[in-house]
Amino acid sequence: MEFLDLLAWMKVGDVATLSIILLLVMFFLLAIGMPLGFASAFLAVLVLIMKFGPDLLFSRFGHGPLSVVGQAVYRQMTNYVLISVPLFIFMAALLERSGIARDMYSSLNVWLSRTRGGIAIVTSIMAVIMAAMSGIIGGEVVLLGLIALPQMLRLGYNQNLAIGTICASGSLGTMIPPSIVLIFYGLVTETSIKALFTAAFLPGFILATFFILYILIRTNLNPSLAPLPEEEPDAPKGLEKALLFIGFLSRFALWLTGFLLLRALFFTVTGENAVREGVDPIALGMVSDIPYIAGAGAIALALMLFLVGKERSRLGWEMGKGLVPPTVVIGVVLGSIYMGITGITEAAGMGVVAVFVIGLLRREMTFEIVWDSLMRTLKSTGTIIWVTIGAASLAAAYTLSGGPTYVANTIISAELPTMGIILVMMLIFLMMGMFMDWIGIVLLIMPVFLPIVLKLPVEEIGFLGGLDPKFVAVWFGVVFCMNMQVSFLSPPFGPAAFYLKSVAPPHITLTAIFRGFLPFIALQLLALSVLLIWPSIVTLFL
């Protein structure tokens, strides 16, 4: 092993030099088009060489600090939460190939067809519902582009408004739980994913509300942007429609309470909901809940029979039943997580089962669809997980060399204004988001950024309302997620634009699509600044 001595110069004692070399080599490797995961994996080895010197690493085969790389990979491979990633992708792929989205669109459209900008609003609402079903984007934009875009263009909607609505709302998938971005953020930073989901709800809805308000205000100021469809003579209107809607709701409530009642009775029969010390009560499944459930059911029944009338409620049900399957899927996924039934991973698994069963009931599921979906799942999983493998190795090696602590201490000791540091971070996220996938950003940047944020004086974060110190990591995760919302739309590589381009009529160019995004990017930045100015909005439900 004489020649190893010749390479002894490769050892760099000082963390600062090491970090700078790391950064430069990283830029170089990404520039020459090396896959992100493998580039970081190689850099992990490079960091170890710089830290320990080639002598120590390669002197004995099978031993030495190089084993941390294998260890880091193994830790990722045996991470239970990571299993939820392929499952969520699988579920979204199945969902895409079922007619659930189309039926949901027609059901929503019935109620809002006479409102100014109705289809755009329907698109946003539908996007929120789909976002609550699955945690990834792409499929959503494609579906909305196929379903809503032709309708809006046919009615003569303003093209920019139509495009922006579809892509901005379609990107909500990773903002509203379940969200794959938050899952990865939670994994990298060891933050509770459930807390992240809860915290992201409100900001996600605020963003969606901004979109809808924008549509309403613009179309009402300038009605030519969103012409109303021809009135159908026999379509119900006004009060009649409201009654139909109440009929639908009460019938739906009846089903729901019936199900909950059976569930509670089942638990009572099996004795599983007996009140025990130290055991959390089953949500809506205890004996004491039964009267309330039954009461709610009775109210719904009374509404249906006396206010709406039987015939009308049947009609309302026919018009609205496209909303039922999505509600069931959301109930299964989010219900499992929040009612304490299962963890994230099993919730994702149950989501797959729910979509599959609904598909079977609708007689749409075929072996071909399942197989195609599995293929897409595997492809996406491979790309995402292998960035994780590389980045985990790099993070392990860099932490071993003391990098993150060094960077955090340097920045803290510079005594810069707290919000200044955060704003610079936001800028870095936005800039990187223009060129890099969110997964690379969360895995490579977060291990460096979050320690800095955690060391910042918490009382200086935000301008209105304080932030509980133990929720800083959660807050930063939601802020990061909002940044990534922008990255889906930001030129030149905003993926939403490319997804829409693939389904839009040929005369809509990529430039036109990005132009349509501008007001919506502004809305996203507005929502981001709300989170920065008033951080406690995130922890409201925690």
Binding site: I32, P35, G37, F38, L66, P86, I439
Partner: protein, 268 residues
Amino acid sequence: MNSESLWLGGMRRPVRLAMLVFIGATLLLYAWLVVNALLFEDAIDMFDMIRPKGRFVVLAMLASLAGAILLASIYFSDTRGAIEQEADGFFDIVSLVTSRLSMIMVACIVLVMLYEVVSRYVFARPTLWANELSLWIAGFLFLFAGQYAMQQRSHIRIYVIYDMMPRWMQKTADVLSLNLLLFFTFALVWGGYSDAMRRMMRLETFGTAWDPPLPGTLKPAILIIILLVTIQAVSNLIADWNKEPEHHSPADEIDETEIDKIRKTLGT
């Protein structure tokens, strides 16, 4: 599934037949095990399944299950999916077989989870093995997924500068990337070999109630499958060497056939 054969050719029908036989045998054995488990207290359970100790039924079950999954992977690797790249490298077939294997694994994880949730919440009898089994399967799934992504050239890369380079420079960059990957694999094996070998020899277990030999299998698998990924990378470089430069955009992620199929479901 009547499309063109990728590599099996005349062997396709026999493989299909063998697959069906093995699946049938697995189902029969499974039914036998379930009936036994319902009738007898000391029937073979999941604990015995990973500790055969010469019991014939367990060995037969494991063998037929392995055979069924393997043959199914081989059979399905013979058809190219609509979203897949053409297989033209020397190593592509291996990656396609492992990809089919892991696609089946995804479905298995879903089934295992369904089983666990149903037995825990409906029958109030949680299993000891479901979590660990899905963890075990997923470890292999994640690793094989990378091999598949490599074969499909779908690993995340940044093409902004790469696309601007002339072809000879792209080739240089590719060779450099490949060498760095080779170096990483070399370093990984160098550092992890003893650890992985030791655990594999002892078939080190997870230290839980069901106690599967998870570290003992997964640790060596990490080294082996990363090696396979590297071989696939070499195969890709050779296969792509004389191809024309492509222009990359995020639109590559989207497949026309897939969109047509979605369109058909939507009836537009």
